[in-house]
Subunit: 279 residues, 2 copies
Amino acid sequence: MTRVLLLHPGSMGSSLGSNLVENDHKVFWVAENRSEATEERAAQADLTRAGSLAEAITEVEVVLSVCPPENAIDVGRAVAKTEFLGTYCDANAIAPSTAQGLLDIYGERYVDGGIVGPPPRVHGHTRLYLSGSNAHQIAKLFQSTRVQTEVLVNGPLAASAMKMCYAAYTKGTAALILGIRALAEHYGVSKSLQAEWSQSENSLWDRSERIGPGTSPKAWRFAPEMREIAKTFNTAELPSGFHDAAAEIYSRMASLKHEEDVETTKVLQYLLVGSATDS
Amino acid sequence: MTRVLLLHPGSMGSSLGSNLVENDHKVFWVAENRSEATEERAAQADLTRAGSLAEAITEVEVVLSVCPPENAIDVGRAVAKTEFLGTYCDANAIAPSTAQGLLDIYGERYVDGGIVGPPPRVHGHTRLYLSGSNAHQIAKLFQSTRVQTEVLVNGPLAASAMKMCYAAYTKGTAALILGIRALAEHYGVSKSLQAEWSQSENSLWDRSERIGPGTSPKAWRFAPEMREIAKTFNTAELPSGFHDAAAEIYSRMASLKHEEDVETTKVLQYLLVGSATDS
């Protein structure tokens, strides 16, 4: 049994935490400054409440960070300021060059992670890529759970690189397709594009119709993830424009966060308001 | 029977010309400053040789421009300097705002075109989108040929808009996928990405393996086409980065023009040389 601090139980984090609890680990979370929704998710996942980071950190051997990419470094720094001496695993969608900042802080105690797939409620769809000296320690925590782990041996930051490559395609093409739908709408050729895509690009129009409703609630956090991917391309001296543009697409959708079943026509209105609304 | 001047018989142009000749139209081409390869293609398509533009232009009622996008405006201007009074059709992959320059020159005599699909050697795979007052005149030329025509009624430049939307996805995603393959190679995670894509992204790895050999001979002309698409997004105040990046990817591959069956590993070497080689 390992004592783990999970920062923070969002949709993905609480589901990972639930898998750890079912594996007989004790999983803490920090209630300070978190919402009621987080409290509910943590309770449903049978996580153990701690009032503050200082209180929680003395209890645990492992910290697992699952948060929006733009907060990953702040979370890592906050933990580093405590007396924590265990293993720090960041499982966020961040560029290897961002993760380098955490490796610099924690050294061999840092495990790099990257999650591919949905919150692990069923078997076979969610993989946690891990790299670094202690990667096997984290992999072991998830043994026999609904989270499949893959330890990468191509350097300490390989897990972040894998996550960036994977999301570069899935979320990059989703943004591109929405952008093209907006382009066709602007030029008044949506009906013709529907006919062409239906004829020559097998089911692409139908796919395009599902992207708006599927991504609208998550676009606010996809935008910073796209910027991490752009950074990853830049570091490799490859063009970053695909994901700069994807970040812009998702930025324009950010205010759709709390709306449900957003139709494509509405998403296109948000995309076509021009760069003035970019956050 | 209509007398048509085709500028110029490349792979696509000669195949379109061949369809027109089979439909009993007389199709001229201009030999001045063209290569031996063009001469051969024109001969095979049964096109009629003219020594110069001035000589050809007096013979025809229609000019059909099929050339790399960066030459479209020059070709249009050269024809405008002659005494030509017929219909000018540009079927090139250019932005509506580029095509506007031709509309300004030719007015109602301008027909906007956009070709989707391969050179029309068989039925059912190639569509010629047309827009503008005289669009039906061009459509009629191709009646009962292997070129399917679609007349768009959403404004005089709708055909170019359609072509941009279509190529934005096909050539945009191809460039993105090559970029991601290069990214994975840079970070040493190609094998892991192959496993992940094979598991969760149905046949994406196999598709990625075909893109390099398929696009290498054409990348030199895809680059300016991507810049036209970027311009199309810009005009609509949508982010242009996807296709700025795609242009960069294809630019780095431009010197592979004359190589056959280029393997992915070689393409990735060209992509990973960094921005220093960008043309």
